[in-house]
C-alpha cells in the first residue's frame, strides 16, 4: 500500500475557472492508495509548496501527484519541492489539468470529469514510480579537435586557454584550412593571412595544444567523457623530430605538381609544405607523385637533407588516446560546378570559382597577386560574377542558401576594381543577402564607390567567342536579355559538406542532414551540440558559415566542451533504460535501434543445472542512454524497461484513463 497525496492547483482562475477543483480533490481522495487530497490557489507558490511539504510529513506520504499546469512547465519545481520535503524527486507525477483541460474545455462539467480522469491517471502511475538516482561518470580532461581551420584553431585556443590539453587532428600537412587560401576578408578587407597566421602560431606554441597534422581520426570508441580515439598519422616520409623546415628539399625536388592549395593554378613540389607559413612548417612527401615512390629512382631530397629527416620507409602510425570531449570542425568543400552545362560544364578555363579568384588575387598566390586569367594570363578587363552557383537550386545543386557568396562576391568585385584600374565587374544575382555587421554597407560601397554593376537575373549561357566569354542572361528588373562579353567569369560556388563527411559522422556516431552537413542537437537551442553527448560542432561542417560566424560558433563549442571538462564527474539521466538480465535472451535487436550506441553486449555467468554457463545479454550504458525508450519496444520479451516510463507505469495509465 502506497501513501499518495494529491494536490490540485487552482492556478488562480486559470484552472478553477472551468474545473471544479474541490470536486477533483474529493474524487481523488477515493482513488486507491490516495490517503490525502487537497486543493490550493497556487500550488507552485512558496506557500503552495509548503502545503505539499507539510502534508508529506503529516500524512507520511510516499508519493505525490500535483494536478496543475504542464509538467513541461513545473515538473522541476515540484520535484525540488518534494525532494526538500524528504522524498525522492522521481516519486512525483503531474496531472496537466490546465493546458490540457481547463484552457481548452470551457464546459465546466465535462472539464471536471476529464480533470478527474487525468488525476486518476497520474495517481495510478505514481503508485508504480520508484525512486530514481542520477548516476555520474568520470570525465577525461582532454579535448580532441578534428580539423585545423579557423574554427578548429579557435576552439583549440579557447579550450587550451581554459587549462585543458587539446589535440588538433588535421588532414592536411598544415593547419590553416580554407581561411589560409583566402586573400582578404570582408567587410574590413584586412588580409586573411595577417589575422590567421598569428593564431596558427599561437596554437603551435600553446603548451596545452598538440597539433597532429597529416592525420585522420580512424576509430572512436567509448562515450562522453571517455572517448577512446585512434588517430591515424599518415606516413609523412619526413621525420618531424629531425626536420628543421629549412626548405632545401623542396627547393631541390625535381617534380612539379599542381598545387591543391593554389586551386591547381600554381605548382608545388612532390615534397612540399602547402604554403610558406605552414604550421607545422615541415614538409610531407606526396607519394603519388614522388619519383622515388613511382620509379624507385631520385631520392634527391634524402641526399640534400642536412638532418637526415627524409624517411621513405615511414608507415602510417596509429595512436590511441583518451579524450573527454570532441569538437568537429572539418569545414567545407566547394560545389563542383561541372554539372552546369550553361556555364560550360567546367570546360572553359576562364570560368573559375571564388576560391580560384582568391588565389589569383592573393599576393602570395601563383600570380603574385596580379589578377591574370588562367587561359592566357591576360589581365581581365571585364569580369562577370555569377552568384548562387550550386546553391538555391533544387534541380542541379543544393536547396540551401550558401550564405557567404553574396559577401565574397562583393569583395571580389571590390578587389577587381582596386587591382585592375578601369576594369568592369558585372554581378548576376538572385537576391543580395547581407545580414551581418557592416555587410550591407560593404555591398553598397561595392556598388557605388567601386562601380560593380549588379544585374538581377540568372545566366542562361556562357560561351566562348574568340578570346572572350559571352555571358548571356536576363536582367529581370528591366525584363530584357543581357549579353556581356567578358574576359573572365567567376562563379560564386556554394559551400558544401566535405565529401567524406558521412564517413566521419558514422565514425563519430553523429547524424548528418540530406546535404551531409552534421546535424546539431537542436536547431535553435543546442546549435553546437550533437545528439551524441560530448561531441560538439564548430564552423562550416555544420552548415555554410563565414569567418565571424565560424569563430563565434567555435567559441560556443569551446565553451560547451570546457563546461564538460571543467567537471570531474558528470551527471547522467535518471530515466534510462534498464535490462532485466534474467529475461534478456541477448538477441541485441535493441542495439541497432539505439540512436546513442548506449546498448552493448555483456557476458554474464549463471548457474544452470548445477554448472556455470556464460551467456550474452544486452547492457545499457547509463551515461549514454538519453531515455527515449525505443529499445523497450524492440524488446519482445519486455526485458528492457525505461525507468520513469516503465511498461507497468504506462499500462497503469492506460487502465486508469479507461476507467
Amino acid at each position: 500500500m502506497r501513501k499518495v497525496g494529491v494536490f490540485v492547483c487552482h492556478c488562480g482562475s486559470n484552472i478553477a475557472g472551468t474545473v471544479d477543483v474541490e470536486k477533483v480533490a474529493q474524487e481523488a481522495a477515493k482513488f486507491p492508495n490516495v490517503v490525502f487530497a487537497t486543493d490550493y490557489k497556487y500550488m507552485c507558490s512558496e506557500p503552495g509548496q509548503q502545503v505539499i511539504k507539510d502534508a508529506i510529513k503529516e500524512h507520511n506520504l510516499d508519493r505525490v501527484v500535483v494536478a496543475s499546469c504542464s509538467p513541461r512547465m513545473h515538473e522541476p519545481t515540484f520535484r525540488r519541492c518534494i525532494q526538500t520535503g524528504g522524498l525522492n524527486p522521481y516519486l512525483l507525477e503531474m496531472a496537466n489539468i490546465r493546458e490540457h483541460c481547463s484552457w481548452v474545455h470551457p464546459d465546466k462539467a465535462k472539464g471536471t470529469v476529464k480533470a478527474i480522469d487525468l488525476v486518476r491517471k497520474a495517481a495510478a502511475k505514481v503508485v508504480k514510480n520508484e525512486p530514481l538516482q542520477k548516476s555520474s561518470i568520470n570525465i577525461t580532461k582532454r579535448a580532441l579537435v578534428i580539423g585545423g581551420g579557423i574554427a578548429g584553431i579557435q576552439v583549440a585556443l579557447d579550450i587550451a586557454d581554459a587549462g585543458f590539453p587539446v589535440t588538433i587532428v588535421e588532414k592536411e600537412p598544415t593547419i590553416g584550412g580554407r581561411m589560409a587560401q583566402i586573400d582578404k576578408t570582408f567587410p574590413t578587407l584586412d588580409c586573411s593571412a595577417c589575422i590567421l597566421t598569428p593564431k596558427m602560431v599561437d596554437a603551435a606554441q600553446h603548451p596545452n595544444i598538440e597539433i597532429i597534422s597529416y592525420a585522420e581520426v580512424d576509430k572512436v570508441e567509448g562515450y562522453v567523457g571517455n572517448f577512446d580515439i585512434t588517430i591515424r598519422k599518415k606516413a609523412r616520409s619526413v621525420d618531424m623530430n629531425k626536420c628543421t623546415g629549412c626548405g632545401t628539399c623542396w627547393e631541390k625536388c625535381p617534380t612539379k605538381v599542381d598545387s591543391e592549395f593554389d586551386m591547381q593554378l600554381g605548382k608545388r613540389k612532390a615534397i612540399y609544405t602547402p604554403f610558406p607559413q605552414a604550421v607545422p612548417n615541415k614538409p610531407v612527401i606526396d607519394r603519388e607523385h614522388c619519383l622515388k615512390f613511382k620509379t624507385g629512382k631520385c631520392g634527391i631530397c634524402e641526399k640534400v637533407c642536412p638532418t637526415g629527416a627524409v624517411d621513405f620507409t615511414m608507415e602510417d602510425e596509429l595512436i590511441t588516446q583518451q579524450y573527454g570531449a570532441i569538437v568537429v570542425a572539418t569545414g567545407f568543400d566547394q560545389f563542383d560546378h561541372s554539372v552546369y552545362g550553361e556555364y560550360g560544364y567546367g570546360k572553359y578555363p576562364d570560368v573559375i570559382t571564388g576560391l580560384h579568384f582568391e588565389r589569383l588575387v592573393n599576393a602570395s598566390g601563383p600570380t603574385m597577386g596580379k589578377i591574370k586569367r588562367p587561359s592566357d594570363h591576360k589581365v581581365p578587363e571585364t569580369v562577370v560574377f555569377i552568384k548562387c552557383v550550386g546553391s538555391r537550386d533544387e534541380a542541379k545543386g543544393k536547396t540551401y542558401c550558401s550564405r557567404t557568396c553574396c559577401m565574397y562576391t562583393a569583395k571580389h568585385a571590390t578587389l577587381m576594381a582596386e587591382k585592375v584600374k578601369g576594369s568592369k565587374s558585372y554581378i548576376f544575382y538572385m537576391d543580395v543577402r547581407t545580414p551581418g555587421k557592416g555587410y550591407e554597407e560593404f555591398y553598397k560601397r561595392t556598388q557605388g564607390e567601386y562601380g560593380a554593376q549588379y544585374i538581377r537575373g540568372r545566366v542562361s549561357k556562357v560561351y566562348p567567342k574568340g578570346d572572350k566569354l559571352v555571358v548571356r542572361g536576363e536582367d529581370s528588373l528591366l525584363g530584357r536579355p543581357v549579353e556581356i562579353e567578358a574576359d573572365m567569369v567567376v562563379l560564386a560556388s556554394a559551400m558544401v559538406a566535405r565529401s567524406d563527411a558521412g564517413d566521419l559522422a558514422r565514425t563519430l556516431g553523429i547524424s548528418y542532414d540530406k546535404d551531409n552537413f552534421f546535424t546539431e542537437a537542436h536547431p535553435k537551442l543546442r546549435p553546437v551540440e550533437t545528439h551524441t553527448a560530448g561531441v560538439f560542432l564548430a564552423g562550416a561542417c555544420q552548415g555554410p558559415k563565414d569567418i565571424p560566424d565560424s569563430v563565434a560558433q567555435a567559441g560556443a563549442a569551446a565553451a560547451k566542451a570546457i563546461g564538460l571538462l571543467a567537471k570531474s564527474q558528470m551527471e547522467t539521466e535518471a530515466t534510462v533504460s534498464q535490462v532485466d538480465e534474467s529475461r534478456c535472451s541477448g538477441c541485441l535487436l535493441c542495439k541497432s535501434i539505439c540512436p546513442y550506441k548506449a546498448i552493448d553486449v555483456k557476458i554474464i555467468a549463471e548457474r544452470v543445472g548445477g554448472k556455470t554457463v556464460e551467456r550474452q545479454v544486452a547492457s545499457v550504458n547509463k551515461s549514454l542512454c538519453q531515455g527515449c525508450g525505443a529499445c523497450t519496444v524492440a524488446c519482445r520479451a519486455g526485458s528492457l524497461n525505461l525507468l520513469g516510463f516503465t511498461n507497468e507505469q504506462i499500462l497503469a495509465e492506460v487502465e486508469a484513463v479507461c476507467l
Binding site: 552546369y340 552545362g341 560544364y345 534541380a395 549561357k461 560561351y463 566562348p464 567567342k465 574568340g466
Partner: protein, 288 residues
C-alpha cells in the same frame, strides 16, 4: 527493326529532302518504316498554343493509331517529335489526361507506343557501330557544326540528349569521318517563325548562328529539324541582301550526309533542292 513513320507536314512539303534522305537511310540500314495510316497534324505551332488539350489530343491520336499497329513511332521533324513526346509523357503520367484525350479522339492511347526521333532511331537504336560498318565513303574531314535547335533536347530529362551540350549528331559526324566542330550555338534558337513574323528580330537570331558558325570555320551545318533548316538555309540570301552579310554555308539534314556516306547518290536525297548550294562542299570532299 520496324517503326510507324510519321512524316508530318514538313516532310511532305518544305522538308521534302528530309523525307527523301530519311527513307534512303532507313532503307540502307534495314529499318522498316510504315507510314501511320490517316495521320493528322502533330499539334505544333498553332495547335498547342491555342488549346493545351488540343495540343495533346492531336499527337495522341497519331500515337493511338501506331499503338494499334503495335509499333513505336519515328518522327524525324523536331516539332512533331516534341509534341508527340509531350503527349506520351502526359498520358503516361496522368490517367485523367488519358481519359480526356480518349474522349476527344475516340481512341484510347495507353502510352504503350512511344515516339523516337530519327536521330535516336538511326544513331542510337541502329547505332554508330553498325553505321560505321556499313559506310561506303566518308566525309573526308569535312568540318561540320551540329545544330540541334531547341526542341530535340528539351525539356531536361525528357528530350533525347543533354540540353546544354548535346553530342548525338557530333558523334555521328565523327563516325562518318568528318570533323565535328565544337561551337557554342548547338542549341541556340533559330528564331522559328520570327524571321517571317518579326523579321528584324528573327533574322538577327539566324544571323548570330550563322556568324558563330562562320567564326568557327565550318564547311557546313547539319541539323535535324525542318524549321531550323529552312531558317538557316533560306535566310542566308535574305541576310546577304538586307544586312550586308556574306554567308554561304551549306545546311544539311543529318540524314542527307548519312545517306551519302552510306552510298546513296546525293541527288537522290535532295541536296540539290537547297537554297544554299551544296555542290562545292560535296565536291571538295569527294562526295558527289
Amino acid at each position: 527493326m520496324k517503326y510507324a513513320y510519321y512524316p508530318g507536314c514538313s516532310l511532305h512539303s518544305t522538308g521534302i529532302e528530309y523525307n527523301m534522305s530519311t527513307l534512303a537511310v532507313a532503307k540502307k540500314l534495314n529499318v522498316e518504316l510504315e507510314e501511320i495510316p490517316d495521320w493528322n497534324c502533330c499539334g505544333a505551332s498553332a495547335g498547342h498554343t491555342t488549346n493545351h488539350l488540343l495540343g495533346l489530343a492531336l499527337p495522341a491520336r497519331n500515337l493511338a493509331i501506331a499503338e494499334k499497329q503495335g509499333l513505336d513511332v519515328m518522327a524525324p521533324c523536331a516539332s512533331c517529335y516534341n509534341r508527340m513526346k509531350t503527349a506520351e509523357v502526359a498520358v503516361k503520367s496522368s490517367p485523367e489526361i488519358r481519359a480526356k484525350v480518349a474522349e476527344i479522339t475516340e481512341m484510347d492511347y495507353a502510352g504503350n507506343s512511344g515516339v523516337k526521333s530519327a536521330l535516336e532511331v538511326f544513331l542510337k537504336e541502329v547505332g554508330l557501330e553498325k553505321i560505321k560498318a556499313s559506310l561506303v565513303r566518308n566525309l573526308g574531314g569535312m568540318k561540320v557544326a551540329a545544330y540541334y535547335g531547341c526542341l530535340l533536347v528539351r525539356p531536361n530529362g525528357i528530350g533525347m540528349d543533354d540540353p546544354e551540350d548535346p553530342m548525338t549528331m557530333d558523334d555521328m559526324i565523327t563516325a562518318l569521318g568528318g570533323e565535328a566542330v565544337q561551337w557554342p550555338f548547338k542549341t541556340e534558337c533559330c528564331g522559328a517563325s520570327l524571321p517571317t513574323a518579326r523579321s528584324k528580330v528573327g533574322l538577327k537570331m539566324v544571323n548570330d548562328i550563322l556568324q558563330m558558325a562562320d567564326i568557327s570555320g565550318v564547311d557546313a551545318i547539319v541539323t535535324a529539324c525542318p524549321l531550323c533548316f529552312v531558317n538557316l538555309d533560306m535566310r542566308q540570301n535574305d541576310l546577304n541582301k538586307k544586312a550586308g552579310g556574306n554567308f554561304n554555308i551549306p545546311i544539311f539534314y543529318f540524314t542527307e550526309l548519312l545517306a551519302i556516306a552510306l552510298g546513296e547518290k546525293p541527288g537522290k536525297v535532295g541536296v540539290k533542292k537547297h537554297f544554299v548550294s551544296t555542290a562545292q562542299v560535296l565536291d571538295k570532299y569527294n562526295l558527289k
